[in-house]
């Protein structure tokens, strides 16, 4: 399994019986391997429409990683959203994605 936590891309080995991780070069990698083996999660980034004079699309991301199998369903939630400015980095665009507790938050400030 290849770690996706940073650009290094360490080759990890996860031992299911003992829960030991090898091949990682940091603590993030160890956590990633254990999570990836049981319940893989991803941060999802996408866009929503914005009713603005300066921008057409507003970039958003999930503020936490959500289960991988929910990714396609999660982005569908954004299809009908149109945001009114002003919005600031971190503002919630969609709350509690599919009951995960994670929100879509915007990643760009648009003033008008």
């Amino acid at each position: 399994m290849i770690c996706i936590c940073c650009p290094k891309g360490c080759h990890l080995v996860y031992d299911e019986k003992s829960g030991n991780v090898s091949g990682n070069s940091c603590a993030m990698g160890a956590r990633y391997a254990a999570a990836e083996a049981v319940d893989p999660k991803r941060v999802v980034t996408s866009t929503v429409r914005i009713n603005s004079s300066t921008a057409v699309m507003l970039p958003v991301k999930t503020n936490f990683a959500i289960p991988k199998h929910m990714v396609m369903k999660a982005v569908e939630l954004l299809n009908d959203i149109e945001v009114q400015p002003p919005v600031f980095i971190g503002d919630v665009v969609y709350k509690n994605i599919l009951g995960t507790g994670a929100d879509f938050v915007c990643t760009k400030t648009v003033n008008e």
Partner: protein
């Protein structure tokens, strides 16, 4: 003629970081020139996360990374002029610029930092045969259409080239409801980061065909079919291995070219290996008072390194402007040999190096357990162990001041060797 201490061309990650650093080092009259209407450059369309792990110790999206630097820039006295194109620079550092707001004008600067970034290679660069229908985009253009302009580029896509932008776009197209049929790479390895192969292709079951290329494009008005084939070790298509993909879109992620028209016209020496300017240890080009940083010098994988390199350029420009002009001491060339294809910087002047010098380089083959060796004539002066080096990842080594001081020749060599264990 307007006069500035420092003019910076480009307000992407390189220009922003250089401006902030120059200001921190005492330069107050700075002009940042940007041709787009907004600051941040290509980061604005890179809405995915993964930026800033080195620089900010957290994972940011492109717009968030840009925002951090834009905020820092707004706290300086630097003037920002967007929607403005630089047409020419002279060795005397007179810039000819044009904008809707001010028309044509000449601007004089004590120092100039080139931070124009790079652009994508297009279909013409690799001469794909076939018809010329619509539906063929460079990956970055498609990224802009989708993420900034809100246009979907197609429904069924094939991606040629496995560079990071191509991989990121494979995922992006999928999330926007398109079907990505394949990612095709002519080399036997991917030029993108491993993490992107995992989270952009594998996560969505998109097949990656290594040692394959597109040999024909079919379609009258809109793209209808892409024909791919396996290639041999000389990258020639092999008969009988053809595959057909019914698709309306082909995205090209086949490399980036530093945008150096201004640099060339100014007579600044260009390195044919990087397609960027030759730079000294402080990012000065062959022309005194003109510095360069970021993707206009060499194509980086990570924006964090662009920021770091640009801060170096900003600091050096400040030193130059504020009177420390004792920069032209003995020059030592850095010669890339063997698997090492180039280095940045390409030359250095020992007296200008405070503590150490970070040398960036790329290799042209994968080596497991590699040793990077720096030699002065026949004598090895430094060696660095790397767990592995791959062509897709830019590498760096840090030469200490005391290693540099003792160099006797007028050039050093850098090469990569495999460590053979007994």
């Amino acid at each position: 003629m307007r006069h500035y201490q420092l003019a910076i061309i480009g307000a992407g990650p390189a220009g922003l970081a250089a401006a902030v650093k120059a200001y921190e080092n005492g330069v107050k009259k700075i002009l940042v020139i940007e041709r787009d209407k907004i600051l941040g450059g290509i980061l604005n369309q890179c809405i995915h996360n993964g930026f800033g792990l080195h620089r900010f110790k957290q994972e940011l999206t492109g717009p968030e990374y840009a925002d951090r630097y834009i905020k820092m820039l707004n706290e300086t006295s630097a003037e920002i002029q967007t929607d403005t194109m630089v047409l020419n620079i002279t060795k005397e550092r007179i810039l000819s610029v044009i904008s809707p707001l001010r028309g044509f004008e000449n601007i004089k600067a004590d120092a100039v930092i080139l931070a124009m970034g790079c652009r994508e290679r297009t279909r013409g660069a690799i001469r794909i045969p076939g018809s010329r229908p619509s539906g063929i985009f460079t990956a970055g253009t498609a990224q802009r259409y989708i993420n900034i302009d809100g246009y979907m580029v197609g429904r069924r896509a094939v991606i040629l080239g496995s560079g990071d932008i191509g991989l990121i776009m494979a995922r992006r197209m999928t999330l926007e409801g398109a079907k990505v049929l394949a990612c095709i790479e002519v080399m036997p390895y991917s030029s993108g980061l491993n993490r992107n192969i995992v989270q952009c292709l594998n996560d969505f079951d998109i097949p990656l065909y290594l040692s394959h290329t597109v040999i024909d494009i079919k379609g009258a008005n809109r793209l209808e079919k892409v024909i791919a084939a396996k290639v041999d070790e000389n990258r020639r298509p092999i008969k009988g291995t053809e595959m057909e993909f019914d698709c309306d879109t082909l995205l090209l992620s086949i490399g980036l070219i530093p945008e150096n028209e201004l640099t060339r016209a100014c007579g600044i020496q260009i390195d044919f290996r990087t397609n960027g300017a030759y730079v000294y240890e402080n990012m000065q080009t062959s022309c005194e008072g003109i510095f360069a940083c970021g993707n206009v010098v060499h194509v980086h994988d990570l924006v964090d390194y662009v920021s770091e390199e640009s801060e170096k350029a900003g600091e050096a420009a400040a030193k130059y402007i504020l009177g420390d002009k004792t920069l032209n001491n003995k020059t030592i060339e850095i010669d890339a040999q063997g698997a090492v294809t180039y280095t940045v910087p390409q030359r250095m002047r020992c007296e200008n190096i405070d503590k150490n010098l970070k040398v960036f380089f790329r290799v042209n083959k994968s080596i497991d357990k590699a040793k990077i060796i720096v030699s002065d004539y026949q004598k090895d002066i430094a060696s660095f162990k790397k767990q592995y080096v791959v062509p897709g990842e830019m590498q760096n080594i840090i030469l200490a001041k005391n290693q540099i001081e003792n160099i006797r020749g007028d050039y050093i060599t850098i090469r990569a060797e495999e460590i053979i264990s007994e």
